[in-house]
């Protein structure tokens, strides 16, 4: 274990130097004004809460948008006068217009993928858990951390403002493929709305880079004494890989956006060639490639899926192990599979482009690499199952959501094997099968990971519990509803029903699903309403929830539960605890749990 020794001595120095820093911070803590404590806070815990609550705002807005466009899909012939009240000219006569429908679909996608499941998920839990679980007073750069949140906040403001533009927000789908996204004459949403969309996304990239670099630096440099990399909880490994993925892929997306800005505003032809727009005529652009954008976009777009999924996987591993009172099975295999996923995430982007006319040989390489991802995914699933086997499971709401995550990850992951195989993708591409696949595996599953995290760490965040009964109601309705919404969509996809259609009534091949669409819309509304119940629980419990009276309510091994119930800025009073073991000694030698700060006993068995 020479590696261990190196890491030890390294951790030791950082621990010492940090200690003085910490007490300094602690001293300052008392002079916090409202502004420096709640608004421009540099405390990672406060920033995490800012990310969480901003993420919740966007989740409600994005979710509400999906309810609105589901109204159109489920009840295309019914008039809803209230829609005209809230949407005005976008819903004349109580019918959502195609412009508004596509704007809602696009904004729903963008907001949920980036603002909720990227910023809301990793922003919250990387900020909250990294310093607390590795034993650090704060992030490597609290100031950058603060900037990261405020860039995200401004990105949100810009996106929000685009909704109120006269020509409407961007409406070309969250992937924003040019030429549609480049030509305002081809779609009104590609006018000012698209400019604001790009600006917002650019700010978001800045935010996520500031955050990501900080997370990486913190995990690598600021672990407490004894916290070697192989003693880190899996949450931290997951958040670490997430940050690496983001730092390496977001700049590529940014470059894609820069070229798009040039094509839109400065007359270049990176993506444009041979275009004749109705009502305008032939454009002067020649020689560009619309496919180039897709390569740049999906070089982020695919890692993005894992940026969303990995934090959920990490938290689920931690929560499953804690509540099964049993060590996570195959800790090293878990890290190895996450590493494999992180590497492969960069090598599969063109599986989103099988039908673009891609060179078939290139396509076959991407098939091979894509299906390879199923191997580490399978390892993870079987390891989770084995973790539950012969455990002693406590069904806290967090545990339920973690189990739900595994179920959804299996269901959605397996359909990935269908879509990753190009010969099947030719048939299923851009149908409802794809919607079902990615909503289950990326959308709902990651959302479940996020809920699990919120229920599990809420006591650490606010020193109070969320209401359990409401948690149970929330879980069972949400998982049932999620399956009812997305499972039948596989069948619509197998009928070839295309995505992003405003109305199917003119299609002989797709109109047979009118009843089903209505059913799905109805369930979607119920599930959305239940999320509001969760929000009520959340905000009520912040102020009125049952108080946390013990430091370690879940009997957990990790470091955050050794900090005071209401940790100040700096997390631990006095010295940062030293770590002697990995985070998963549950049920060892007949003991329920052994915290990471407990020295290894002389007679303790070796695993």
């Amino acid at each position: 274990m020479s590696n261990e020794a190196v890491l030890h001595s390294h951790a030791h120095t950082s621990h010492d130097s940090h200690d003085s820093h910490g007490s300094h911070e602690h001293h300052e803590h008392h002079q916090d004004s409202f502004i420096s404590k709640y608004v421009f806070s540099m405390d990672h815990k406060m920033i995490a809460k800012q990310f969480l609550i901003t993420g919740m705002f966007w989740a409600v807005l994005g979710g509400l948008m999906s309810v609105l466009f589901r109204l159109q899909l489920g009840y295309p012939d019914t008039s809803f006068p209230f829609l005209e009240t809230i949407l005005g000219k976008w819903a004349k006569g109580g019918h959502i217009s195609p412009e508004a429908y596509y704007a809602l679909v696009t904004t729903h996608g963008t907001v949920l993928v980036f603002f909720v499941l990227t910023a809301g998920l990793s922003g919250t839990f990387a900020n909250f858990l990294i310093p607390l679980q590795i034993g650090a007073r704060d992030m490597a750069s609290p100031f950058m951390n603060m900037l990261s949140f405020w860039f995200f906040f401004i990105a949100g403001l810009v996106m929000l403002s685009s909704i109120f533009v006269e020509t409407g927000p961007f409406s070309g789908g969250w992937t924003a493929y040019p030429p549609l996204s480049a030509l305002g004459d081809a779609s009104p949403g590609s006018k000012t709305g698209m400019d604001l969309w790009i600006v917002s996304m650019a700010l978001f990239v800045v935010s996520s880079l500031l955050g990501g670099l900080n997370y990486i630096a913190t995990v690598l440099n600021m672990r407490t004494k004894g916290m070697s990399m192989t003693r880190l909880p899996l949450t931290i490994w997951a958040l670490f890989f997430t940050a690496v993925l983001g730092v390496l892929s977001f700049p590529v997306l940014f470059s894609g956006f820069i070229l798009l800005i040039f094509d839109r505003n400065f007359g270049t032809s990176f993506y444009l060639s041979d275009i004749f727009v109705n009502g305008v005529g032939a454009l002067p652009n020649e020689g560009g490639s619309a496919i180039l954008y897709q390569h740049l976009f999906w070089f982020l777009g695919h890692p993005e899926v894992y940026i969303i999924l990995l934090p959920a996987m990490g938290m689920v591993s931690e929560i499953l192990s804690t509540n099964a009172r049993k060590p996570i099975f195959g800790y090293m295999a878990m890290i190895g599979s996450m590493f494999a996923i992180a590497i492969l995430a960069f090598l599969v982007w063109a599986h989103h482009m099988f039908v673009t006319g891609l060179n078939p040989f290139l396509g076959s390489i991407f098939v091979l690499l894509t299906l390879l991802i199923a191997v580490p995914s399978a390892i993870k699933v079987f390891n989770w199952l084995t973790t539950l086997w012969r455990g002693n499971i406590r069904f806290t709401p967090a545990m339920l959501f973690a189990i739900g995550f595994v179920s959804l990850f299996i269901s959605g992951g397996l359909t990935g094997i269908w879509l990753g195989n190009s010969a099947l993708d030719i048939h299923l591409h851009d149908t409802y099968f794809v919607i079902a696949h990615f909503h289950i595996v990326m959308g709902v599953a990651s959302m479940f990971g996020m809920f699990a995290g919120i229920y599990h760490w809420f006591p650490k965040m606010y020193g109070r519990f969320l209401n359990n009964t409401l948690g149970y109601v929330h879980f069972w309705i949400t998982i049932t509803g999620a399956y009812l919404i997305f499972w039948p969509m596989h069948y619509e996809g197998l009928a070839g029903m295309p995505r992003r259609y405003y109305d199917y009534s003119i299609w002989e091949s797709f109109k047979q699903f009118a009843d089903l669409n209505q059913f799905i819309s109805l369930i979607a509304m119920i599930v959305f309403a239940v999320q509001l119940l969760f929000l009520a629980n959340f905000f009520y419990s912040i102020f009125k929830g049952r108080k946390l009276r013990v430091q370690n309510p879940w009997g957990s091994n990790t470091l955050e539960w050794t900090a005071p119930i209401h940790p100040g800025h700096g997390n631990w009073e006095g010295d940062i605890p030293e770590v002697y073991r990995w985070a998963y000694d549950y049920g060892k030698d007949g003991q329920d749990f052994i915290s990471q700060v407990t020295p290894v006993g002389v007679q303790e068995s070796v695993h």
Binding site: K326, P327, V355, G363, S407, A423, L533, A536, Y540
Partner: protein
């Protein structure tokens, strides 16, 4: 008004749930947390089993209800599509088994190993053999799926047979334009700056004599049963996608970059109408790539007909050249010559490379 009523009812319902939930929390504190935790653990354990059983039943029920509405029920209308369908079946079998097995294990373990005071947890941090098992087995199964998939992929994307009927498909906001090479079997050159909606929707180059006999139609395309059909696909404005769900294929239409796709239809439209029992049956071309606000209405129709019917149809078509230059239209002359020509060309050997070449811009 009804809306407010609905909101009020929902809000009231939530308030009730909220109050019950709060009350149960107080009861839990009074009764002792351990007892109430045990109770809720038991309930959730049972719910796990109920969810599993109901879920598996739901999967069966959903299949029962919806399978006949999918394309698998009728079967594929192209030779290529048969391969897609058989691959779908194999993939469904493999993933289906894994799905059912893992979901049963997940919810059954959750139920079986729920918190019991006397249970001793099995400290089981790792086991190399097990981990190897579920690395190697999925890897082997996936290799099989990859091999099957790639064989089909290469056959779908291979060069079209030499005797294939070649048709150019162009997407525009929001419709489809089709071009047949006409009597000379060659598509004439085109250049997008020549496009003029009134007389030259594809921007054909009239200086190129090969374009003079090209036939251009919109919305509906005629192809021949049992004869390979090759589409050369392009777009006039934004990216579209030629989605042929009954034939199980699709291909993007990208401005500036021609793509191709070929397939062999097995049934005429009439035969499919009988097969599906739907007299209104149509082979629809659905645009499968977001292309603007009219995306959902961008519909084309493929009429699959017999060779005889096709010849008959083609004989009635006039080259597009004549609609641009009506004065050159010899429409007063008798037309049988065209009919003979067209029957000759449909069976003729088509040099696909020259068509490819003529398709690129000058």
């Amino acid at each position: 008004m009804t809306l407010f009523l609905v909101i009020a009812v929902v809000a009231l319902f939530f308030l009730v749930i909220f109050q019950i939930a709060k009350a149960s929390e107080y009861v839990a504190v009074l009764k002792g947390e351990d007892i109430s935790k045990k109770q809720s653990n038991k309930i959730n354990g049972y719910l796990m089993v109920i969810f599993l059983v109901a879920g598996l039943f739901g999967v069966w029920y959903c299949n029962d209800l919806l399978y006949s509405k999918t394309l698998l029920y009728v079967g594929s209308a192209s030779v290529q599509g048969d391969k897609v369908d058989s691959m779908l079946e194999i993939t469904l079998a493999v993933t289906g088994i894994v799905f059912i097995a893992t979901q049963i294990l997940l919810f059954w373990f959750s139920y079986k190993y729920q918190d019991k005071e006397d249970r001793k947890v099995f400290y089981f941090p790792h086991n190399t053999n097990l981990e190897l098992l579920w690395t190697v087995v999925p890897a082997i199964v996936l290799t099989v799926l990859v091999v099957i998939g790639l064989r089909n992929w290469y056959s779908f994307t291979s060069e079209a047979p030499k005797d294939a009927q070649v048709i150019e498909v162009t997407g525009k906001q929001f419709g489809w334009i089709f071009r047949y090479p006409g009597a000379d079997n060659q598509l004439g050159k085109k250049y997008y700056r020549n496009i003029d909606n009134a007389s030259n929707s594809l921007g054909l180059v009239w200086d190129d004599a090969m374009s003079h006999d090209d036939i251009v139609t919109e919305q509906t395309v005629y192809i021949v049963k049992n004869k390979p059909c090759k589409f050369i696909i392009g777009s006039r404005d934004v990216i579209h996608d030629v989605g042929l769900s009954q034939f199980r294929l699709k291909m993007d239409a990208v401005p500036g970059i021609p793509t191709t796709m070929w397939f062999t239809p097995k049934f005429t439209t009439k035969e499919m109408a009988e097969k599906t029992g739907n007299p209104n049956f149509q082979y629809e071309i659905s645009c499968d790539q977001m292309c603007g606000n009219g995306h959902y209405s961008m519909k084309g129709v493929i009429q699959v007909v017999t060779q005889e019917e096709f010849n008959e149809w083609q004989a009635k078509q006039k080259p597009y050249y004549y609609s641009a230059f009506p004065d050159k239209d010899p429409s007063n002359k008798v037309a049988p010559a065209t009919a003979i020509d067209s029957s000759k060309h449909t069976t003729a050997d088509i040099n696909s490379t020259s068509i490819q070449k003529s398709n690129t811009k000058i």
